[in-house]
Amino acid sequence: MNSSNMNFLIEAILDGDVSLALNEVKELRNAKIKPERIIKEALAEVVVELDGKCTIEDFNLLEIMMAGRVIIAIVEELYTNGIPASQARGIIIIGTAEGDIHDLGKNIVKIMLMGKGYRVIDCGNNCPIEELINIAEKEEANAIFISGLISTIAPQVRKVKSILIQRKLTDIKVVAGGGALKQLPANNLNVDFVAETVFDGISYLNKILEV
């Protein structure tokens, strides 16, 4: 079992072929390759490759979704309850803020974070910020990712950092993204970072966690 097997897996993921990718994963596992190595050498590489192909002007969401569907299938095959904290690069809580049900972007970010080896807890859409913060505290998260496509959720987002400070959870970073939120700078939203794209958010995370 060598790097060419990992390359086959990468190709299958990029091709959106779930069954072929799962067969490759099975072979790698039969060869005693550990799940964390599959994540690091195949899934994370796919995310890097997609990042390189996508710009704001030429953002092929369908290609990302096809690969994303395979990434989910592989993570489910390797772990029964998501990537365990002990093997993860970090722990991320993600949700679309209360009052907003748009979750396509949030789901894409979740999958790409999983692909990079993060443990991601998805709080869904229309999610109160208190719930995001409570789960972040319980899971000892590194960051909260908040998504929003509509302008009315900005006031909620501005409160997150203050609540984290009140609760002495100052190590938890807050990242915002989505159509409405990304029109505002980080200082206006009172967050640590505003991500223009999914890959922008991942780069920030990799940087602050030094992974």
Partner: protein, 335 residues
């Protein structure tokens, strides 16, 4: 010069008395009339009155009969959640358990859910504001309605996995669009603006837009023109540079462009199409009137020689916007 004459002149690249200004004021009209947004989006008479109040306050060049983007999907069977002082949310998509378009039926715009109320709003606006006012209705583009029937993620996966079935739903959505849009024209709208946010390159690649969305929009616009629409107005926000070149072929007369798109580049891509935009929507909440005035002047200067321009925001002016910011934008065209 009447509003209609002014807008017609800019569409034809002729010189109007001043540049038209169209503030995309929808729910904000309810806020300044102190009417709950959840009532505004359900009551045609109330909507019309709020739009008239907003027009009388700001004196811009168009009013909108637009409730929210869920009118069509609700009429087809999706379940909405109405929330206090907010736009409605989709609670359950009509196609959340199936992808079979045969369970869908085309709603009658004169009888189904909120559609008749929207038509009522148009009739009142026309009666109250007269024939010289630009009254704009609203229909969802076929791609956007398809995502509103299935949910965006399922719609895109259906496009990947079963393009034939996806296209059946897209065609159903096109028919809904036409029936509702034609009813709006019949009720007195000068045109229905076609909202197609799910056709944005932020959602689908431009090749997908060209192959599957653009031909359907072309058919829609052709039928609206024959039915007497004053112009074909396509509204897609986000980074649309890669799809703007398809607009002339579709018959688009007015192309909305958002803050993502450089106005110079938009002019280059669409040398003979009227453009509207592109002040950042959230700046109407966050910025000062001086900043909006400066941004407006910059855009007016950029388009001064070319013409073919309507000053506007890139997307909806949010309900909670500061009125003085809208006033600043309107004033900029009248200096």
């Amino acid at each position: 010069m009447s509003v209609i004459e002014r807008v017609t002149k800019v569409i034809n690249f002729e010189t109007p008395d001043r540049v038209p200004v169209v503030a995309q004021v929808f729910g904000h009209a309810a806020v300044i009339s102190k009417v709950p947004l959840h009532d505004y989006i359900r009551d045609g008479k109330l909507l019309a009155q709020c739009q008239i109040n907003a027009f009388q306050r700001y004196m811009y060049d168009a009013v909108f009969a637009l409730m929210d983007v869920n009118v069509e999907t609700e009429a087809i069977g999706s379940v909405l959640e109405y929330r206090k002082n907010e736009y409605a949310l989709i609670k359950k998509y009509v196609l959340s358990d199936t992808t079979n378009p045969e369970i869908l039926s085309i709603p009658d715009p004169y009888q189904t859910k909120r559609m008749p109320e929207l038509l009522k709003a148009i009739r009142i606006l026309r009666a109250e504001l007269g024939d010289e006012m630009l009254i704009i209705g609203c229909v969802l583009g076929p791609m956007t309605l398809t995502t509103q029937l299935l949910g965006a993620e399922r719609a895109l996966f259906l496009a990947i996995d079963n393009i034939e079935k996806f296209c059946e739903i897209l065609d159903f959505s096109k028919t809904v669009n036409l029936k509702f849009g034609l009813a709006q024209i019949e009720a007195g709208a000068n045109l229905p603006v076609v909202f197609e946010p799910s056709g944005s390159p932020a959602v689908v690649p431009h090749q997908f837009f060209r192959e599957f969305i653009s031909p359907r929009l072309k058919e829609i616009f052709s039928i609206y023109k024959k039915a007497g629409a004053a112009a074909n107005w396509l509204h897609i926000a986000g980074p649309t540079s890669s799809i703007l070149p398809y607009y002339p072929e579709m018959g688009v007369d007015i192309a909305n462009f958002d803050y993502y798109v450089d106005p110079f580049y938009a002019q280059k891509l669409l040398p003979k199409t009227c453009l509207d935009g592109n002040i950042k929507s959230l700046s109407f909440i966050e910025a000062t009137p001086a900043k909006i005035a400066a941004e407006s002047k910059k855009l007016l200067d950029l388009f001064a020689d070319r013409g073919g321009y309507i000053l506007s925001s890139g997307c909806e002016i949010p309900p909670e916007s500061k009125p003085e910011n809208i006033e600043a934008m309107v004033r900029a065209t009248k200096l």
